[in-house]
Amino acid sequence: MKLFRLQGGIHPDTCKILSAEQPIRSLPLPNWLHIPLQQHIGASAKPVVKVGDRVYKGQVIAVSQGAVSASIHASTSGEIAAIGNYPAPHPSGLPIFTITLKPDGADRWLEQEVPDEPLTLSPEAIAMRVNAAGIVGLGGAAFPSAVKLNVSRRSQVQTLIINGSECEPYLTGDDRLMRERTSAVIQGIRLLRHAVGAQDVLVGIEDNKSQAITAMQFAAMGTEVQVIPIPTLYPMGSEKQLVKVLTGKEVPANGRLADISVLVHNVGTAYAVRQAIYLGRPLVTRVVTVSGGAVAKPSNLEVPIGTLVEELFRFCGGFRETPVRLLMGGPMMGIQLPNTQIPVVKGTSGVLAFTAQEITGNRISPCIRCASCLRACPIGLQPLEMVARIRAHDLNGAIRLGLKDCIACGSCSYVCPAHIPLVHYFNYAKGELAARERIKLKQEATRKLAEERMERLARLAREREAAAAARQAAKAAKEKQANVLAEAI
């Protein structure tokens, strides 16, 4: 199949060798599970259990609220120990509403009926079951999958693209999933295709995962699923890039994938959909790569959602040396964790512990306009010019240069010989602009309140005057009457 050329991109050392040959192992149940109520893009889920309740594995403990949201299920059977704030897997380390579950050790599933012939279900029914299973995009963005399915079905999407690129260095979970649970992944892909009625199904896998490609191609034989090796290039796993390389189409700026009749799902998501529909298992575990130079035995683990990162490292033999940085996600876009007491969530593709050698940071020097960033940018932006604007407090100038088109992949920061934290500047600017927008909205609201108050005070004053005048008039009338009476008498 003809592939299309991408602009930009980088070739970081993938370091996948650390964990690529480690089969997926199940992490034993931890003593506590801390399950945040918002692990997805959209509205937080609403708890439907109280402290002390006993729950089964897979039982809903918080339901989705609003159009874009996802339900949360108990990752094992046990007792609800607490509902309250707990540090979020977020760079700020701020608290998030979290349900704490004390496992009872039985790991007893809540049995759910499963269809005999999953592929005969209606597309609507598949989306409904995906929604009920709380499935979100497992590639990292954690967008509720059912919402995507419904939008794509309504706009009659032609092409379903399955993202098996796993372009982030160190991560090998998707690779292992495709190699070990190949037929289940293919079943999931076929379900997704059926759910949106797509004509073509393209599975893009980076050519550094030859075993996964072979396994998937073998399993896909005789089906409508096409497995396509694609060049190893970061950020191939970004939806926009993957779509471009496979179809040659570009998602219009400010547009959606459905605008060009494409839907993209991750292989992990396809697997989760298969588990939900074939087995009636909601999304309560996920495959997480535990890696980095500081980890004694890098591994791929199937982890209950809500397990603390600490447990993962401990199961992998602890640390070989004291890590200088802990990460959740990949090294290119992942977040730094303040400590190991942070729970694994649906969007956690990996947890990494880095040594000082792996973080090749350096002193920031002035920009010499070498344009490495411009050549590395997969979107065609001019990172150096945008940063110059942001440094000069000219955020609108940065927007005019395309700040809002930035996908924050970090390629520019990676290549910058001056070690300028370019993508940090962009995320700061995006956050600052959003904050300004919030302030503007608030100011509009308070201005209105102030105007209403002025009007009300004016009205009250008018009413008082009118009342006073009325009293005056009444008094005068009364006096007059009295006078008349007096005269009459």
Binding site: Y428, A434, K442, T446, L449, A450, R453
Partner: protein
Amino acid sequence: MQMIGVAILSLTLLGLALGFLLGTAAYYLKVEGNTLAAELEKLLPGSQCGQCGFPGCTAAAQALANGQAAVTLCPPGGRVLVETLAARLGVEVNLAQVKETIPIIAEVQEDLCIGCTRCFKVCPTDAILGAAKQIHVVFREACTGCNQCIAVCPTESLQLKPVPVTLQSWYWERPAMTV
């Protein structure tokens, strides 16, 4: 002699023609007097808090339009407002030197509130809810941190506090400029 005549004549004609042009321009291209002040007022927060030292946003806008006030006059507007005002008025400001104000709002310390109702009578945005002899609460979304309620509270129960950062409002800090 003739030369002087030509010079006088040509200068007179030139003067007349240009004068006519100026007069016409002044007539047709006239700028309404108060539009600038009105436009500036729209940019200001409009909560009439009076922190700038003027009786309200209208007066502040008038002062700005007359050049009697600096573009940095409005504390609640922050750096963004300075930027917008400077752009509108064509004034140069060094934004790096304008301090970014942390948004603050009033908060009631419940154990000190005696329910005197003074605060919500002065609140320009009706951001305080309560009734006599009952503990008042500040409606966060409506409070502009204008300080008016603080001044009237007899028990110092009201205090200005920074708006708490949440997961929704948090964003990355501006990277430190090391070079």
